[in-house]
């Protein structure tokens, strides 16, 4: 199980997968927007998206868990 965390404070720009989806290692799961930049959040492992904890437009802080991937 891997938790995908926000590397920095920002808002959720896009959520690219749904719960239950199969994802590849290196795939972009969520894109944050911060400092007017797009910040892609990639999964390091392949597996199934077991939960997505945020919606587009949410403010997230550094280290907040955005999604969980199960190998």
């Amino acid at each position: 199980m891997t938790q995908l965390k926000a590397a920095m404070a920002g808002t959720v720009f896009t959520v690219n997968v749904a719960e239950g989806d199969q994802v590849e290692a290196g795939q972009v799961i969520i894109v944050l927007e911060s400092m007017k930049m797009e910040i892609p959040v990639e999964t390091e492992i392949a597996g199934k998206v077991s939960s997505i904890n945020v919606q587009v437009g949410d403010f997230v802080n550094e280290e907040d868990v955005l999604a969980v991937i199960e190998a």
Binding site: A7, M8, A9, S34, M35, K36, M37, E38, I39, P40, N61, E62
Partner: protein, 516 residues
């Protein structure tokens, strides 16, 4: 005849003594080294030095004690890439590499040799720390362990100082890596900490593993105390040799040039850099398009990765590269990235390595988290280091340089030898979206018709973009030159050659008041 026989006896005795010393500690400790995937200290030195050859001082230190060969440290001179260097290397088969009084004296003496001969000093560390039984003779006195750190500070910026960490570097000993220019750590074996996990549990009640407390990966990714994470001792040693190729023997000399090598075959900068200012790209790929293939030496690769710092060559000339990485945290500058850049710039400036800034930076991070971390204070370290560096400095605005990000990346006010913009570059206090919001937010909210509102915002974006148009910046002589990305490598090489005679003394004073 008798005399010759006597000589043979003496020589035999000497040979035997030396054999005992170079064998190191008890065989059971050699076995333990093998279990830990560690090399014996003398095998490390053979790998480090050209042809495996070196000359030792203090080889017979504590030889009367019988069980303390060389008193647990080898101090030697030898050549690395043809350049003389001095080395101290702990022997962990002798009392776990602990420091007795002679160990400390040997280290101090080899530092003095390095100073007198103005050659780099390498510290091959694998030591449990102070030998408690010897504390009166090695800890508090004038030529005790404190003197080693005092010497390191004295030598800092005078000669290159490199630390290779093969095992523990505990308590006070952890300051050896701290005062070196670079720390190469072997994953799984290297560690540094002031208090061991055992001590932490006893004194503050914290239960952690050694790796969590001060392992190589932790220091190379979280604390920033480590610079290079090596997979093996062999790799650590070959990386140290590669690192030294970039440096002169001391601050009075210039780094040597090498034969130019073509850039790595790959996409052009035009293909790499996206048109959308906000979209990420990989700055490593852009660096590959500018430097001699295979020449990059990454420093702190896994720490504060939103900023890349590394040594490289452009047409054979050594340069220190400071580049924002838009792929990580949007390339925004944080507390750690500011510290990382400040130390790297100091290092390059100390040893006459020219600096290349590749800017694609939205600015310094904002928000309560970073303000509480003291981002202003940390940002000031970076700006002071960059501003006071007197080596040739070239600033390239690759895509955007907003706010204090422009200052941090050697913008025009900081006397770069040239500030070059690529045609897609944007320089501004902030980006168009943020600026229009900042100036017109009340007006935008007051427009009720959504279509009209969008039209107003778009018109203001257009106006703003014209205001910060790069040709306008060049017309006002804010940037010195605009060039096509495909010409950048050649232009940089030529300009660094032109600036190689730069000599810019700072106004006389003791030193600045560092914003640490």
């Amino acid at each position: 005849m008798t005399k010759r026989v006597e000589q043979t006896v003496y020589n035999e005795q000497l040979k035997k003594k030396i054999e005992e010393i170079v064998a190191g500690g008890h065989p059971k400790y050699h076995e333990r080294l093998k279990e830990q995937n560690k090399l014996f200290v003398r095998d490390r030195l053979k790998l480090l030095f050209d042809d495996g050859k070196y000359l030792e001082d203090g080889r017979f230190a504590n030889c009367e004690a019988n069980d303390l060969p060389a008193d647990g440290v080898v101090t030697a001179m030898g050549k690395v890439n043809g350049q003389t260097v001095c080395v101290m290397a702990n022997d962990s088969t002798v009392k776990a590499g602990s420091w007795g009084s002679r160990t400390v004296e040997k280290i101090i003496r080899i530092q003095e040799v390095a100073e007198k001969n103005r050659v780099p000093m390498l510290y091959l560390v694998d030591s449990a720390g102070a030998r408690i039984t010897d504390q009166l003779e090695m800890f508090p006195n004038r030529r005790g362990a404190g003197k080693i750190f005092h010497n390191q500070v004295r030598l800092s910026g005078f000669i290159p100082q490199i630390c290779l960490l093969f095992g523990p570097s505990a308590a006070g000993g952890a300051y050896i890596p701290a005062f070196c220019d670079i720390v190469i750590m072997v994953e799984g074996n290297a560690s540094m900490y002031l208090g061991s996990p055992r001590m932490a549990e006893k004194v503050i009640g914290e239960k952690v593993t050694l790796e969590e407390m001060g392992g190589a990966r932790m220091h190379c990714t979280v604390s920033g105390c480590g610079d290079v994470l090596a997979r093996s001792e062999e790799e650590a040693i070959s990386e140290a040799r590669r690192y030294l190729e970039f440096f002169p023997a001391n601050f009075t000399e210039k780094p040597s040039l090498k034969e130019p090598i073509a850039r790595k075959v790959g996409r052009s900068l035009e293909e790499i850099i996206p048109e959308n200012q906000n979209a990420p790209f990989d700055m490593y790929e852009a660096i590959d398009a500018l430097i001699d293939e295979g020449s990059f030496f990454d420093i702190k690769k896994f720490f504060a990765s939103e900023l890349i710092t590394g040594l490289a060559r452009i047409e054979g000339q050594p340069v220190g590269i400071i580049a924002n990485q838009p792929k990580v945290k949007g390339g925004v500058l944080f507390v750690d990235s500011a510290d990382k850049a400040a130390k790297f710039i100091n290092l390059c400036d100390a040893f006459s390595i020219p600096l290349l800034f590749l800017a694609d930076v939205p600015g310094f991070m904002i928000g309560t988290k970073v303000e509480r971390d003291g981002i202003i204070r940390h940002g000031a370290k970076l700006i002071m280091a960059m501003s006071s560096a007197t080596v040739p400095k070239i600033s390239v605005v690759v895509r955007k340089a907003y706010g204090a990000g422009l200052y941090a990346m050697a913008g025009p006010a900081f006397e770069p030898d040239v500030c070059i913009a690529l045609p897609t570059a944007q320089i501004a206090v902030m980006g168009p979206e943020a600026a229009v919001n900042a100036v017109y937010s009340n007006k935008i909210e007051a427009i009720e018709d959504p279509k009209e509102r969008i039209a107003f915002v778009q018109a203001k974006h257009k106006e703003y973009k014209e205001e910060i148009d790069i040709y306008k910046m060049a017309s006002e002589m804010i940037v010195d030159e605009i060039i096509s990305p495909s010409d950048l490598r050649e232009v940089l090489a030529e300009r660094f050659r032109f600036y190689s005679t730069k000599d810019l003394p700072l106004p006389p004073k003791k030193h600045p008041v560092y914003p640490v």
